[in-house]
Amino acid sequence: MTIRILGAAFLLAAGTSMAQAQQLAPSPTLDAVKARGNLECGVHLGLPGFSFANDKGEWSGLDVDYCKALAAAVLGDASKVKYTPTSVQQRWPILQSGQVDVLARNSTITFSRNATLGLNFQGINFYEGQTFIVRKSANAKTAADLDGASVCVAAGSTEEKNAADWFRERNLKTTITNFQKNDDAIAAYDAGRCDAYTAGVGALAGQRAKLKNPEEHIILTQPISNDPQGPVTRWGDERWQLIVRWVLNGTIAAEALGVTSKNVDEMKANSKNSEVRRLLGAEGGFGAMMGLSNDWMYNVIKQVGNYGESYERTVGMGSNLKMERGQNQLWTKGGLLFTPPFQ
């Protein structure tokens, strides 16, 4: 009898501790976002197509769409985002010091940033390639034609070092003038201080509109580097990193699975595909595993759309930038985008 009671007590104790082991690891960032009722998202100071506020103060762009998706997943409402515009120099300290929950700001993933700045890159939402914008009158077709040119660039960007390395490796003599902000560098290029301004293809497509006579300039098509960009978190708080990573994966998975903002209700109700059902929370309970509601990705797709919808609306054919999908197409269609399975 005594042994039985002891055994039952032991099982009970083991069961309780098992239940505790299944509890979620603490996530101070997620708790803070929920308590605050909005997501603090670090974005670019103003880059059409990626993060840009119109004259009414409404933000739009590919990076902004990521912020909205994350807010939809965490808070169930894509509009609950507070945007913090950051310069090239401000972006890391603002993230490191905890002033923003996540940074979605055209930031290139590099080894040294990952290893020494206390940053984690949670996937790729844009495959960027560095190139140059030049005046048509300069008759430059590729970067190699820029021998002897002055190049304006934002200080502290990956482009600053890339350009210096690229020209040095080819024994081309260029003068690189480093400005503190992207906009200062563009203004100086526009004023004739430089023969070229360098940034990513996507960034240039957006920034070209800021020039006095956009049609007098051309963007060199051949990129000199590969600069993958994506959302960034600080070290620590693994569960928050999990959420940031899988919301991005979810938007790509939705495109691959054919789930769009138009058909998401119908897909959730009727789809026989178990990956679609797990993604949209019809089965599997994936949201709860991260401490979110199970319809986390349903909210994202319903309110923001899948990756392809975002792309077309912000930088693709539905936007002023008119950029092809290129590398930013699904791997099944010849691009580089893919996501690990929702299983």
């Binding site: 020494t116 002897g148 040095r168 480093n178 503190q180």
Partner: protein, 387 residues
Amino acid sequence: MSSFLSFINDKRVRDWFYQIALILLLVGLAVFFVRNASENMVKAGIASGFDFLWRTSGIEVPFVLTNYTQADNILALFWVGVANTMLVTVIAIVLATLLGFALGIARLSSHWLLSTIAGAYVEFVRNIPLLFFVLFWYFGVIAALPQPRQSIGLFGVAFLNNRGITIPLPDAPGNFRWAALAVLVSWLCYWLASAWARRRKERTGQDAPLLAIGIGLIVVVPALAIAWASLATRWDIPVLRGFNYRGGFVVIPEFVALLAALVTYTAGFIAEIVRGGIESVAKGQSEAASALGLRPGRILSLVVIPQALRVMTPPLTNQYLNVLKNSSFGAAIAYPDVVSLFMGSALNNTGQAIEIIAMTLAVYLVIGLAVSALMNWYNARIALVTR
């Protein structure tokens, strides 16, 4: 017991005790902050320490006074920034002082138009932020100058365009070292000669032909030395090829714009200091000098300015320190000073904000204290000697 009581009641003992306690507290606080910061940085995965200074910089700089290349380390980049900060500061201080003196004296002139213009300039400058000056000169300079293909040639060897002033550079500086030595020696000779002439005048009352000696030693000898060095050296003369002139040394428009902004801005403040200094000299002084038959120019240089300098030196020191600090506005227009290169590019590439900001702070502190020390020495030298 009573000896112990008298020990702790001793004023000197107490004074020492409080001093030591304060120092220990400050050191303790500093240690606490440093340890706290480094612990938290380790936790957040942010690198710390000064190892990054020996990493390759990879940053190209358009205006380099040292022999830095982008393959050098970040410490070398730091020195490039420090040299550029010092260059623009020193030249700006010299030019602002000259312009400021001219404006200050003009403001006191009895010529109505001259004094009104000087007065208006001072009021204008004092009420406009420096950043405006910097951007105005920058975009003004760029807009006013032609594109490289339409460069303004100066004697066919130097070229002015909106990429800067390209000047020829000697292939080997050897001859110029000798020329510089010759210039220094001849200036030293002049200094000795003028000291000798002053003593002789005090003794005998005779004037030495100092003007002729001065022209010879200060102008002719250096000119000959430089001419010889220029002719004996092969020059790297800039040639237009492709986008811009190749070869030579480029004085970038950012330097010119920042210098112009610092000079025109600071001169307004120096003008007021000069005016205040001159007005502080009692009117009876210049009246007495006038009664002795001195001409206005000599009254100014012999009687008024030497006394005014005593009043002017301390506030001038402040203005010189302001020039140093304001040179950091160069970051707004891509002038590669220590703020732009080290706190901008290097900080972004390494992310080591605390170390880099501390080092930049130290640069300003050291240069600033040096300027102060120099001006204090000068102030002590010209102070009224009382017996």
